[in-house]
């Protein structure tokens, strides 16, 4: 069975380690915060200028001055801090943020990512994505393996305008966990009940497959 969005988020949450500062993008990445182990110390950074983000506020306690990069009202946890946009991207560029999780429209086997523009159709802008992918050491992409027409978004080469070059380290989709290696995508795990053949058929890029591929452990 292909994974749902919540399950993709659950799988990615396992990549979040003790002592990490983490930046979460909009969409599936935002859900990751709900599944991170509670016995480890992790701080979430939002690039509009907050570290130590907490859950959504209780009804009636929303504050227009306390939002995340998705413009959603949030709360802060003890130890949180606010800062300006230049310092926020300063900590991103100087690699103080340990892990960046973001969505993508396409990823290529050399680690290129495209997620900000579909020429002639959709131009919303790159927001902070270009700064994040150009600087982060550890980038995990949460995305759908195929589009609604069944076409692969895991490619030999991106067709859309790039957000960053050679930067993605790992990709988690509804079908598989892939690692970007110097030789291309390596299949690490498959979704429970999804065959290696099905993943190969759903992937335009060539996959490196070594030995038995284990199923993802979601819970």
């Amino acid at each position: 069975m292909a994974l749902g969005k919540e399950e993709i988020a659950k799988r990615i949450a396992k990549e979040v380690k003790d002592g990490y500062y983490v930046n979460l993008g909009i969409g599936i990445p935002t859900l990751v915060a709900n599944y991170v182990r509670t016995d480890i110390a992790v701080e979430f950074q939002s690039e509009n200028g907050v570290l130590g983000m907490g859950p959504f506020p209780f009804e009636g306690e929303e504050d227009a001055d306390i939002i995340n990069a998705g413009k959603q009202t949030i709360t802060t946890l003890p130890g949180a801090s606010f800062f300006d946009s230049a310092l926020s991207f300063g900590m991103i560029r100087s690699q103080k943020v340990d892990l960046t999780i973001l969505g993508a429209m396409e990823v290529a086997e050399n680690g290129d990512i495209a997620n900000w523009k579909i020429p002639g159709k959709m131009v919303k802008g790159m927001g902070g994505a270009m700064d994040l992918v150009a600087s982060a050491e550890n980038i995990i992409v949460a995305m759908m393996h195929v589009n609604k027409a069944g076409e692969s978004k895991i490619l030999k080469k991106c067709s859309l305008p790039l957000t960053g070059v050679g930067c993605v380290k790992k990709v988690v989709t509804e079908l598989a966990v892939l690692e970007v290696t110097p030789k291309g995508f390596k299949l690490l795990e498959r979704a429970p009940g999804v065959s290696v053949e099905h993943i190969i058929a759903s992937t335009e890029a060539t996959l490196i497959i070594e030995g038995d591929i284990p199923e993802m452990i979601i819970d």
Binding site: S46, E47, N48, G49, V50, P55, F56, P57, F58, E59, G60, E61, E62, D63, A64, D65, I66, I67, N68, A69, G70, K71, Q72, T73, I74, F82, F83, D84, S85, A86, S88, F89, I92, R93, D112, K117, V123, K124, G125, M126, G127, G128, A129, M130, D131, A134, S135, P161, L162, T163, G164, V165
Partner: protein
């Protein structure tokens, strides 16, 4: 004490003319100088180039200036959530320069800090790098970005005093703190304007030297773009 206080938003915006370049603080609708934007709509100043991370929504923030076609060019990082913006951009009525958010912040900060240019890895190998100088530092490719040059910077703070000192609240600090002092003239719109001596010098985020005019906004709607809450159990 050098007094920066002006009594009205009209006085604060004195000298803003057609075809000027203006920086406006805020992220989404959070921390936008909403009183100054409303006055720009009333004033009818046109052909503006606006440097602002976002372009508001259809009926609030910079969206109000877009509705009246007062903006010729937008320099932003993210412009979703605004149908009129998208229409004007796709039809070619509006010139749009999309800039990575960290680069946009740093281009403001560089102007504020008197630095003409800097190198960043953001956008290397993408459309953003087209026509820009590329250099390698420490084995990594960077592109050169220039500091912004703006006529006016309009920022919004939570508290300020008559000397122009500013304190921001929460994530409303965002681009406001980077844009203060980044243009020829900086106008600060504050929720609460206090006499000098009311603010603790230790707690001031932006010193008054960066601000030329300060006024207290008449009313603040502080609209929330994405109201997300959880239920009490």
């Amino acid at each position: 004490m050098i007094n920066k206080k002006v009594n009205t938003v009209q006085d604060a915006l004195e000298g803003i003319k057609d075809s000027m370049t203006i920086m406006l603080g805020g992220f989404g609708l959070s921390g936008i100088p909403e009183n100054a934007i409303a006055e720009l709509v009333t004033k009818g100043t046109t052909d503006l180039t606006c440097i602002s991370n976002n372009a508001g929504v259809d009926d609030f923030g910079l969206g109000l200036l877009l509705q009246k076609r007062q903006i010729k060019k937008m320099i932003s990082s993210y412009v979703g959530e605004n149908a009129e913006f998208e229409r004007q951009m796709l039809s070619g009525e509006l010139d749009v320069e999309l800039t990575p958010q960290g680069t946009l912040a740093e281009k403001c900060r560089a102007a504020q800090a008197g630095i003409p240019a800097f190198f960043t890895p953001a956008g290397y190998g993408t459309e953003v790098a087209e026509g820009k100088e590329v250099r390698e530092f420490n084995g990594k490719m960077h592109i050169m970005e220039l500091a912004y040059k703006a006529d006016f910077s309009i920022v919004k703070a939570w508290k300020g005093d008559e000397a122009g000192n500013l304190i921001f609240k929460g994530t409303a600090r965002n681009f406001n703190a980077c844009m203060a002092g980044a243009a020829k003239i900086t106008i600060a719109e504050v929720e609460e304007l206090l006499p000098v001596g009311s603010l603790d010098p230790n707690e001031i985020h932006i010193p008054g030297i960066m601000v030329q005019r300060i006024f207290q906004g008449e009313k603040f709607e502080k609209r929330i773009e994405q109201r997300t809450v959880r239920k009490r159990n």
